[in-house]
């Protein structure tokens, strides 16, 4: 599994996360897809926009809503060589959050930089 896909083509994948974590299945599903995709050794980036920034809020505890606490998975992404996490500054700030509220290391970028990240990506998945 260390080899690249046949032909060795590496593309820039971008996973766009725009939903809050627990009200719908989107965020958890996105993580599953990212982890499965990680086996293919592509150039993977994750973007957190709008309510998607809430996915990264630290100290989530789902015990009392009886669902899996998948927020812990974000800390494991690094081991899957998924290391590029981008958070849109405007989304974070308009929700009253700062970098200190987040559970993992991310790069905070502004709308202009996010625009470029999207434009430069070759394959985009939306959640």
């Amino acid at each position: 599994m260390e080899e690249e896909l046949e032909g060795g083509v590496v593309k820039k994948f971008l996973y766009v996360n725009r939903r809050a974590p627990h009200g719908t299945i989107y965020a958890h599903e996105a993580l599953e897809v990212v982890l499965i995709g990680a086996a293919f050794d592509q150039d993977v980036s994750l973007a957190f926009i709008d309510d998607g920034v809430f996915q990264l809020k630290k100290e989530q505890d789902t015990a009392e809503i009886y669902t899996k606490n998948f927020s812990k998975i974000y800390s494991a992404l690094e081991m899957y060589d998924v290391e590029k996490l981008y958070v849109e500054k405007e989304s974070l700030e308009s929700r009253g959050l700062t970098e200190d509220d987040l559970s993992v290391d991310v790069k905070i970028i502004n709308s202009k930089e996010m625009k470029k990240l999207i434009t430069d990506s070759e394959v985009i998945f939306n959640f």
């Binding site: 725009r18 926009i49 709008d50 470029k116 434009t119 939306n126």
Partner: protein
């Protein structure tokens, strides 16, 4: 690059976020409930008008028709296309971003 939006801007912020993050000279196609975003005299009309200076805007005809809307309900300079036109846009653009 082709961007599509399929949610009403009065319920979700998908259209607004798209307009914030869309590159100049891109193409934006409004489909399904997003066609409501093409209506004139709404509280997001100004944002649409501003966006039109930098991007080309389309709306999917069958979705308009289904909702009892037509050209007269829309902001000017928004082009109405049919499914063939949709396919053409997809073929013309190497990449697509769907704002859900």
């Amino acid at each position: 690059m082709l961007h599509t939006v399929n949610k009403s801007p009065f319920e979700k912020n998908s259209l607004e976020t798209c307009l914030r993050l869309i590159e100049d000279n891109s193409t934006l196609l409004l489909i399904e409930d997003a066609v409501y975003g093409a209506l004139k005299n709404t509280n997001i009309e100004e944002k649409i008008l501003n966006a039109q200076t930098n991007i080309k805007l389309y709306v999917l005809g069958p979705d308009l028709k289904a909702r009892g809307l037509d050209k007269n309900s829309l902001i000017t300079n928004i082009e109405i296309i049919d499914y063939k036109g949709f396919v053409k846009l997809v073929a013309e653009n190497e990449k697509i971003q769907n704002w859900l």
